[in-house]
């Protein structure tokens, strides 16, 4: 039996919230259905005080249900107030898409950090998602890493909505601000020559400045590796730390280049692990960005 996102959110909150919090939320959702923005604005603001801010307690099964209800949805990082706020947003009448959009935009414009995180994660469950591609492109210009990650990580919308320039900026910026690439949904599907070129330039510049290069970069750059990239990878494969070597090996294995094979042969031990699948990008990201 499969559930809708609304049913799942309701179940999770029911399981975890106090009776008072639950009753408050029901009343507010009722008020929001009238479409009056003020009731949404006030309720949205007061949610953490009424419902609490605890992490959502989810089982493996809940996470599977979520992915079934909305492909790409990963609520593992959500909090209970976030879930409650999304239910409030989903209660707002949306037939008049211009009015609906104006109300949601106002929330974005006036949101504090946790609210922004919530709103960017909420969009994947809301109607009229196509109206938000500019909002996402604007959102990744933030200087607040947690807000950036709410857009870039565990969120299927960038992959689904973003134009290529915005997508490329998002991946590049993630590397600049020290955010992992692995949690970006659709990362491997949306690699493209422009993005790879920017990453190859970036890596080369970093190497010239004797600065470390984020190891996940090679995952996206390698499919379009040119001479410069191969030379950089070769040098780093000879001198790098194990993590860097593993990443380069994994990246090189995925390309079908003869030059790649030649580089891999210089450290066949690591190359073998990359080929056999005993190194994964997930593990590399976890080691590169321990939480």
């Amino acid at each position: 039996m499969s559930y809708t996102p609304i049913q799942l959110l309701e179940n999770w909150i029911l399981r975890q919230a106090s009776d008072d919090g639950q009753a408050w939320l029901d009343t507010q959702r009722e008020a929001v259905t009238t479409g009056e923005p003020k009731s949404l604005y006030m309720a949205f603001g007061f949610t953490p005080r009424k419902i609490g801010k605890a992490d959502l307690q989810l089982t493996e099964r809940d996470i599977n249900d979520a992915a079934e209800a909305r492909p790409g949805w990963q609520p593992q990082t959500w909090t209970i107030d976030q879930a409650a706020r999304v239910l409030l947003l989903m209660s707002l009448p949306s037939e008049d898409d211009a009015a609906w959009f104006a109300t949601i935009e106002k929330l974005f414009q006036t949101a504090e950090v946790r609210e922004q995180i919530c709103l960017y994660q909420a969009l994947q469950l809301l109607p009229h998602q196509e109206l938000f591609d500019d909002r996402l492109a604007e959102g990744i210009r933030t200087n607040i890493q947690t807000v950036f990650c709410a857009i870039a990580h565990c969120n299927p919308l960038p992959m689904e909505l973003m134009q290529e320039p915005a997508w490329n900026q998002m991946v590049l910026k993630a590397l600049f601000i020290g955010a992992a690439l692995d949690p970006i949904e659709g990362l491997d599907q949306r690699v493209n020559p422009d993005l790879a070129r920017m990453l190859i330039d970036f890596a080369h510049e970093r190497r010239a400045a004797k600065r470390p290069i984020p190891v996940e970069l090679w995952r996206v750059a390698a499919p379009f590796a040119d001479e410069i990239a191969l030379e950089d990878m070769k040098a780093l494969y000879a001198t790098g730390e194990t993590l860097e070597k593993s990443a380069i090996a994994l990246a090189l294995v995925s390309t079908a280049l003869d030059e790649a094979d030649a580089i891999l042969q210089t450290d066949p031990e690591i190359a073998k692990r990359a080929e056999s699948g005993s190194i994964t990008w997930r593990e590399i990201a976890q080691q590169a960005y321990p939480s």
Partner: protein, 303 residues
């Protein structure tokens, strides 16, 4: 010793100030919404200003280990632009419930016009509705009259004095403000408001109950270290530590703690969830910068 500066306009200060404040023991600050030095000409300016108080500035302060709170309100000077003031009243409900909003303020009088009084009253009612404390700005000119008039109006609205901080007091006004039961705040601001030697004398005379010290540091010639400097001066001049703690920390905590949004545990042992969204992995403006560098080994070298 830890300090709270419950009235400082850090939006107009630099990161050097934040570093110095954290080093001097300032753990938490409150930034009241106020005048930016020139009048705002449209509602969007207010919206973006309020947003920065509840968003980016809170985040920026956290990068330096300082917990940032704010108050939201229409200041007295700008209440005189009635067309704009009306729009600000419509905007305020979007902000009063934000997590770091601990009061409605700073509101009150500047010129003591009818418009100033009108929006003071509207905002007092708003504060009552959401059960938030109130921060009252008292005027520079005609201070005594303005201060007394503000308290009369608050009493007309049947707001209990323990929910109200009256700020920018001096030797002339503090006796009456204390007598009527309000939190009585003093701004240590070079040359204009209070000096900290005078402040020492006030505490010697009136004790520490309900007295609050702040810097109101802003875009003018002011001192973001005014609270720790005054605290240390009080200790030097023989005021008991307990009184210093009350005036430079605990009274502000008690007054604004009534919002339910201002708790010592926020900065002494932050909840993991807040730590996640405020501190972990973040940097102020650029990727890869280490948020806090205590002493670079050699400051001629730029890494």
């Amino acid at each position: 010793m830890k300090f709270i500066d419950p009235h400082i306009h850090v939006t107009s200060r630099t990161t050097d100030d934040y570093e110095a404040m954290a080093a001097a023991g300032v753990a938490a600050i409150i930034e009241p919404a106020f005048w930016l030095g020139q009048p705002r000409t449209n509602i969007g300016s207010f919206q973006d200003y309020f947003s920065s108080l509840v968003g980016f500035e809170k985040f920026r302060a956290a990068q330096f280990g300082i917990r940032h709170y704010c108050t939201i309100g229409l200041n007295s000077k700008e209440a005189n632009n009635e067309a704009l003031a009306e729009q600000v009243m419509e905007l305020m409900p979007l902000f009063l419930a934000k997590e770091n909003v601990v009061a409605v303020g700073e509101i009150g009088f500047d010129d003591m016009t009818a418009a100033e009084e009108k929006y003071l009253r509207i905002q007092l009612e708003m504060a009552k509705e959401v059960n938030l404390p109130i921060l009252i700005h008292t005027p520079h000119r005609n201070k005594k009259q303005g201060t007394y008039r503000s308290m009369d109006i608050i009493e007309e609205h049947e707001i209990p004095p323990h929910m109200v901080v009256i700020d920018h007091n001096n030797e002339e006004t503090c006796e009456e403000v204390l007598r009527r039961g309000y939190w009585t705040a003093f701004t240590i601001y070079p040359k204009t408001k209070m000096g900290n030697e005078r402040m020492v004398e006030v505490v010697k005379k009136y004790g520490a109950e309900r007295i609050i010290i702040d810097s109101s540091a802003d875009w003018g010639v002011s001192d973001p270290l005014a609270v720790p400097k005054t605290g240390n001066l009080m200790l030097e001049r023989g005021i008991p530590q307990e009184h210093v703690e009350l005036t430079c920390y605990k009274n502000a905590l008690a007054a604004y703690g009534q919002s339910g949004q201002f708790e010592e545990s926020d900065w002494l042992s932050p909840e993991p969830i807040d730590q996640r969204s405020l501190f972990e992995g973040n940097s102020v403006l650029r990727g890869g910068q280490t948020p806090r560098v205590d002493k670079p080994e050699d400051d001629r070298i730029i890494q």
